[in-house]
Subunit: 286 residues, 2 copies
């Protein structure tokens, strides 16, 4: 079997089959949900009953439609919609499935109840694709969601021509904020320091092939936000995720909401005005 | 005054003066030691008696010549050679002094006894150059030294054409190793997560303008190690630092020495052979 559109020239293994029938998924031991899970995730989950592995890294937060910007993690939506299913997330520093298909070395995290994670690890891992098992669903989901927001911010800084130093400083501060947020939400710090946290953040926030970074880059160069979000443009999920993160942080911790709120509100404060304001804050200890 | 060679077109402030006389340094409240501090650092320190601020980020580890690859931090060498001086380090994500001179926003860490750090912060900081004060000399020195080693490793992975995913995974693992090493040596984890730790690591290990990354890149593409280390080539301090780090880790913790030793020994194991070996390790939890 081949996937001529997304993976031209790659022969898929014999044990992979394509189907348009949801019934096939019902019989499976594990169901991997691919692209754009936040769109219609709830509806899909309700229709299938099986352990889930997410084979795609994007938008772990539920969209406004399903959870009204409550900032719920996708695994939480899954638990509500399909209480019998065992949630799992596959996440990590992978920008293109083509790299995996070309057997470039890739390491990712699979989070689930540990016995499920280890089973998925054994099923999916091979010589050049190395999944590490984790039982920290919150940490993996949080890292995968938040990195898109920080990638937009790093793209903005690059697009404004502020230099590599500023972008690196912002990335370090973003990671520190992610760790504070993770602590509030019950994520493990090892997870955030791992492949699906720091690894994915570094990749997404520095690579021009990342959609969220590119979105920030264009924003920083002066493209209007609404034009960049027009239908047909590549989806920068970090824009939606920013609101969800602020809501989530706000529900738990008012102080971090205030702090986060300003950074996450892309487009509400003119970029040219926000920079001097940030730079004028009092000097502090680290 | 101008520095026509390194900062062409930049007018230096009136309160900066150049001198070749060590005596001028003797009278100063603070002396900043710039490039290549590991070369003849001991000799210089012995000749001056004043608080020190390092205005340059490289090679915080003493060279073989002065401390026989004992892996001493430069601040420790300073303490031995000039016991009356107050050590300080300025470190962080800055690849080029030109960016600072052009007033691109830059954030760095100044580590010293806190009152000294705060005084240096007030003296050196301005609108676009933001030093954050810290009292963690060990953490700042360690981050500044280790990042060069990891940058070489990341360059190798990029040079071998292994893709962005592999480089990002390696960077995440490098940071985790840095944190373990820091814990053994008494560094604060906030420091390693900050500007002089993660911030500098990300910049140095992803930017083609970093000498250590470029060295690794060339190594990964097949250039012979000895040719790249020939006189006249840009200095990749990570090569020397690798040995110092292994020695330091070994003195404290045999297990991490074994683990670290293999990664740090650039050129001792053929790259083409070490990759399959790394990829063949058993799959683990994260």
């Amino acid at each position: 079997m081949r996937n001529a559109f997304f993976l031209p020239g790659v022969a898929l293994p014999d044990n992979i089959a394509a189907t348009g029938e949801m019934a096939a998924g019902r019989a499976a031991n594990a169901v991997a949900r691919g692209r754009r899970p936040s769109i219609c995730a709830g509806a899909l989950f309700r229709r299938a009953r099986a352990p889930y592995a997410r084979a795609q890294r994007r938008s772990f937060f539920a969209p406004r439609e399903s959870s009204a910007a409550s900032g719920k993690l996708l695994t939480e939506v899954l638990r509500e919609c399909a209480p019998g299913a065992e949630p799992a997330i596959l996440s990590g520093p992978v920008l293109s499935p083509r790299d995996v298909a070309r057997h470039l070395p890739t390491a990712v995290t699979i989070a689930a109840k540990m016995d499920v994670a280890l089973r998925l690890q054994a099923t999916l891992g091979h010589a050049t694709f190395r999944p590490y098992a984790s039982d920290d669903l919150i940490g993996v989901a949080l890292g995968g969601a938040a990195k898109n927001v920080y990638a937009i911010a790093c793209g903005i800084v690059a697009g404004m021509g502020l230099g590599e130093s500023a972008r690196a400083a912002l990335l370090a501060r973003s990671f520190a904020e992610l760790c504070r947020l993770g602590e509030k939400l019950g994520a493990k710090s090892e997870t955030l320091m791992g492949l699906s946290g720091l690894g994915d953040l570094v990749l997404t926030a520095t690579s021009p092939t990342s959609r969220n970074y590119s979105f920030g880059l264009a924003l920083g160069k002066g493209s209007p936000r609404d034009e960049l979000l027009r239908a047909g443009q590549p989806l920068a999920e970090g824009v939606e995720t920013a609101s969800a993160l602020v809501a989530r942080a706000g529900a738990r911790h008012r102080a971090s909401r205030r702090r986060g709120g300003r950074r996450y509100s892309f487009g509400q404060l003119a970029l040219g005005r926000s920079l001097p304001r940030l730079m004028a804050r009092p000097l502090k200890t680290e």
